[in-house]
Amino acid sequence: MQIRKKGKKTVPPVSTASLPDIVFMLLFFFMVTTVMRETSLKVQHVIPQAKEVAKLERKSLVAYIHIGPPLTPLQAVMGTEPRIQLDDAFATPADIPTFVESVKSQTDEAEVPLLTYSLKVDSKTKMGIVVDVKQELRKANALKINYSTRKSNTKAVEL
């Protein structure tokens, strides 16, 4: 009993008409998920690792404070000591209340208590500058902070 016919079978060409649709779908996905970087970093930081980390959600409610030595091209002017960067410029601890106020004014009033200040600090930095920043944040009533750390998988924390 022979079902299939004998003879040469030609495979019809695969239709690529739906290829643009598929690509467009992917494109829209990436367009929607992409967040463009708003500030350019002027300091370099190697973020320390920790085990007990929590995810930072609602990126629109996070303000970043970068602390670390200036980038190599800027070191001629700014020196190699760790510096604070707020938004796009170098700052001193005294500038933090103004920064906090501007962040608060840009946020919806109902969401101000949810604002988190993420401290991205280089692991080689001394605590002195971090403490100054923390004291200024306290004075400005910006109490919710987040020490930015990467999640480490190893049990022991290397030093």
Binding site: V23, L26, A50, K51, E52, S118, Y147, T149, L159
Partner: protein, 207 residues
């Protein structure tokens, strides 16, 4: 001067895929998928001038962690490596309920919080533990984060053990659970083992 209506031929859509690919690759390259992670902390509110200072705390209830500018650690008057801090802190946080005379461990008091009473009964004892962390201005940020991490791990472990003993689930499971009952249980555990990390103003000397 009537123009002859010209027939527009079909536009070739063959290159549309190429254009879309180009855009796709651009967005693929610029996308960063990383989620920001970190240690969440709440700073104490600013001290007002006319508020009386808080009542003193018995030294016995305080687990003192000192870090100096040379990144050495002094825990309860003994030199310690940062890797051992978690175990030591955990031991202190749990304490010894049945041995109240031991001065090394914190005192206990009867819990009055209605939620604890609801789950544990009227005369459950909770520890008066506080962890005090003081660092120098010259302490490295890396060590500071390592200490914070170790203390947070100690608290999480104690909470998990308590939650498993009482409710059969870890604290993290209860906390992340969708059910309100589990979330309430997580709250009870949180009240039972509150994360009390007090940070003293840093010393100015030796930096």
């Amino acid at each position: 001067m009537a123009r002859k209506k010209r027939d527009i031929g079909e536009i070739n859509a063959g290159s549309m895929a190429d254009i879309a690919f180009l855009l796709l690759i651009f967005f693929l390259v610029t996308t960063t998928m990383d989620v920001d992670t970190g240690l969440m902390r709440v700073l104490p509110p600013p001290i007002l001038e006319d508020v009386p200072p808080p009542p003193p705390v018995k030294m016995r209830n305080v687990f003192v962690v000192l870090a100096n500018s040379a990144d050495n650690l002094l825990v309860e008057d003994a030199y310690m490596q940062v890797e051992d801090l978690r175990a030591a802190a955990k031991e202190f946080i749990i304490g010894q309920v049945n041995n109240p005379g031991n001065e090394r461990f914190p005192e206990f008091k009867v819990a009055t919080n209605p939620l604890i009473v609801k789950y544990y009964g009227g005369n459950h004892l909770v520890s008066k533990q506080i962890v005090s962390l003081q660092n120098d201005r010259g302490t490295s940020y890396e060590l500071y984060i390592a200490i914070q991490d170790q203390l947070a791990q100690a608290y999480t472990e104690v909470r998990n053990e308590e939650a498993i003993k009482k409710f059969g689930k870890t604290y993290d499971e209860l906390k992340d659970s969708k059910s309100a009952v589990d979330n309430e249980k997580a709250k009870v555990i949180r009240l039972l083992v509150p994360q009390r990390i007090s940070e003293a103003e840093p010393k100015e000397i030796g930096s």
